[in-house]
Symmetry: C3
Subunit: 326 residues, 3 copies
């Protein structure tokens, strides 16, 4: 597999400088490990010093770094080098010619009353239940379940093990036991959504759970019933959103982050990894809550003191008053 | 799909007031979004003000709210409105006539030495291994694995991707490597248990892992080997219980909560979301441990100070002594 | 199923004392619950007092406890009793004669261009994609996916629901949406690796994700793209390692522990359960960060004060200065 730089700029735009269109690219590689046949990129200006040292055949850079890049060697100048790099990986994948063939794998179990677009790809051992709808170009990789009446839009990717439309977790307590609340809603997933391996999106209790266009969820993410995830939100691995929470557009949740039930997050709220959100957040910004890791012995001392923190505050107050009185 | 109010009270009891038995119900809906053809419910007296404003055709209420509900319009009076609502969703599901048909889906792989009750439903692409037993009316949705010699009781629901009976995580260290401890126990699951999508219950090392009757586990929950989960306990998504822990009856664990290995939780212990339990708990009650989320800049300051908390306590002590000495 | 003590020491070594080689063992059992027909073990000297009380037919002990064990009854003396016990469970499993038969289950979907060793076991409903390689004696239990071009070494066990080689979570932001970065790398897994149920190991973005020999991962673990996990590292359930992190050899991560992206952990670093590592760690040792669980009312007070911790520190400073001035 290889591509010419000319093929790349023809497909993706950008200004090629310092190399001919015929220069052959063997690989796309990170700046620090790129060899003389490789295409690389510099997306974060903080790594500028790596630029000069890189052996890459060509580096994708922003206009502001054009001169610096030219001093080193060949470059492609693009407004958003990281997005350009992303599209280069897509071009690479296409050129490999290994894309999936539309259609339903013979081992998949698709209910006759499901609607699967002719351009969709239903991979091996997937299950598509009655009334489910799978949009154009959407790819269920392998061992994916899309439950009854759930909809998945166009150009989505559902990785192996994904479960869309399991019952939400709803039970009414009665006499010390739990009475099941049948989950009568479904799941509606927009276009260009990607769900990572073994991620779960539960069906709604009465209304639907909704994942809007462009949302990206990593592996092992849990989305509870009646959650609404706004456009282009993204969540890293092991994140969880409890029932009826409303996540705004363009929000992000770091790995292992949790949003409790019935909360609302405004657009552009960013939750750090391993952070639990217990109240609604109305202002955009970055939010964090996490006990910082430390050597265990130090943590033990600090954690023990933490259990007396409120009392310590009272002692500080008392000291302040005593000092005033002296 | 629709039901008459008369059909509902005939099936579930309760006193219908302010409407005829022939009133047709088009949907079950939450109080705030219910339309004039919908049945709704008021389970939490805190939402009383929503009652007057609701457009629902009929609202399920507790006896104490009978008068208030009657002023608005039609109601069904029931001792436990939330449980009544739950049963109404079950009635609705039944009336849809879409229940599963008992039997083994042709795509499932069931070992000839497994015992599957004739009324059980083994969904598409499930695996039931040698010696496993599946009880009456139990439903393995799709892509569920029940391992060798594991038992699942009656009327259970195992959602897609569940794995019952994978090996517990047991290894003996020797010369810097790990020697596998074969997991010779199995898993015993009682009646009326529900396991969420992609949830895992490991087999025991020597004895069995036990899930008692009526337990409800949400999605992506991890139950380690030799754990014992008592009757009617419930755990929300992404919760985890480490090996040999003993969870009492009626306990609950919030989303992402963790119970460490070999601990014992008394009956009626409730663990908040994102809380890690590191010691046994002998008293019923609610337990929490979680760094509250804050704006990142504030968190950074507080988290940095937290690493010196023990030293701060010493400084407070020193201040108190110095002040005493003045 | 039963074994003679003579068969055990013939296979595993150790010195049998106080019982004949013909003594029949019905079960392997923990010290406290072992009956008169059972083989047990004492690995942790802290449990010495349980030794005298045990009814086991024979107890595996270290040389230092030989006398004490002999006073009680029969014993096998072995240098590492816990590893000896582990091997005894393996012997037991073998003697049950229920080992898997090499070969590909007819329900599995194996691409014709995948290379599966003749001694490997591909269980029911597994998916092995184009270019994947499965080594000698490796066992994919059931419903396991090994993606395109991914390699799994020899003698590995992949439990049900494992996904090796789903796309890493890589997207470039552009105009408020996400541009997919095709994940062009693969996953390389060494020998003697065990992956728990529903665990995910993502393929690399440009280079490969690497799991070295002897690594053991529990259930529902998430390994991001381009992570490198060193030899004989082990991670408990629900742990997560974000992209490009480098975990040293012999490291352990407790249940629910998280290592953030691009960090490096030295060899022999141990991360406690529910701990998030936010910086690289260059020294071996045990690291912890977790808000200790407490009664909810106490936690609420302490957590509220925690949000003012930095301000409290300033007040302590002010007090110290004021006191100095008096």
């Amino acid at each position: 597999m290889s591509l010419l730089l000319g093929q790349i700029v023809d497909a993706l735009g950008g200004e090629l400088e310092g190399a001919t269109r015929e220069t052959r690219i063997a690989r796309i590689a990170p700046l620090e490990s790129a060899g003389p046949g490789d295409l690389s990129f510099l997306s974060n200006p903080r790594y500028q010093q790596q630029l000069a040292a890189s052996q890459a055949a060509c580096v994708i850079v922003a206009p502001a770094l054009r001169e610096q890049a030219r001093q080193r060697g060949a470059c492609i100048v693009a407004a958003n080098p990281y997005a350009y790099f992303a599209r280069a990986t897509q071009l690479w994948r296409q050129a490999q010619g290994r894309g999936p063939v539309p259609g339903v794998h013979p081992s998949a179990v698709v209910h006759p009353d499901a609607q699967v677009d002719a351009s969709a790809i239903i991979g091996p051992l997937c299950v598509v239940e009655r009334g489910a709808r799978i949009g154009a170009g959407t790819w269920l990789k392998s061992r994916v379940t899309v439950g009854e009446d759930c909809q998945v839009g166009a150009r989505c990717i559902l990785h192996s093990g994904v479960v869309v439309g399991a019952d939400g977790f709803g039970f009414a307590p009665e006499d010390g036991a739990w009475v099941k609340i049948e989950q009568l809603g479904a799941v509606r997933i927009g276009d260009d959504v990607e769900l990572g391996a073994n991620t779960c999106v539960d069906r709604g209790a009465l209304d639907d759970t909704v994942i809007e266009d462009g949302v990206k969820l990593d592996n092992l993410v849990q989305i509870g019933h009646n959650v609404h995830v706004g456009r282009h939100a993204a969540m890293a691995g092991c994140a969880g959103v409890a029932g009826s929470a409303r996540i705004g557009a363009h929000c992000t949740v770091g790995g292992g982050g949790i949003v409790l039930g019935h909360l609302a997050l405004a657009d552009h709220v960013h939750v750090s990894a391993a952070t639990t959100v217990t109240r609604s957040i109305s202002q955009p910004g970055l939010y964090t809550g996490m006990f910082p890791a430390d050597e265990n012995a130090k943590w033990e001392k600090n954690a023990a003191t933490l259990k007396q923190l409120h009392a310590l505050r009272e002692r500080i107050k008392a000291l302040e008053q005593a000092l005033k009185a002296t």
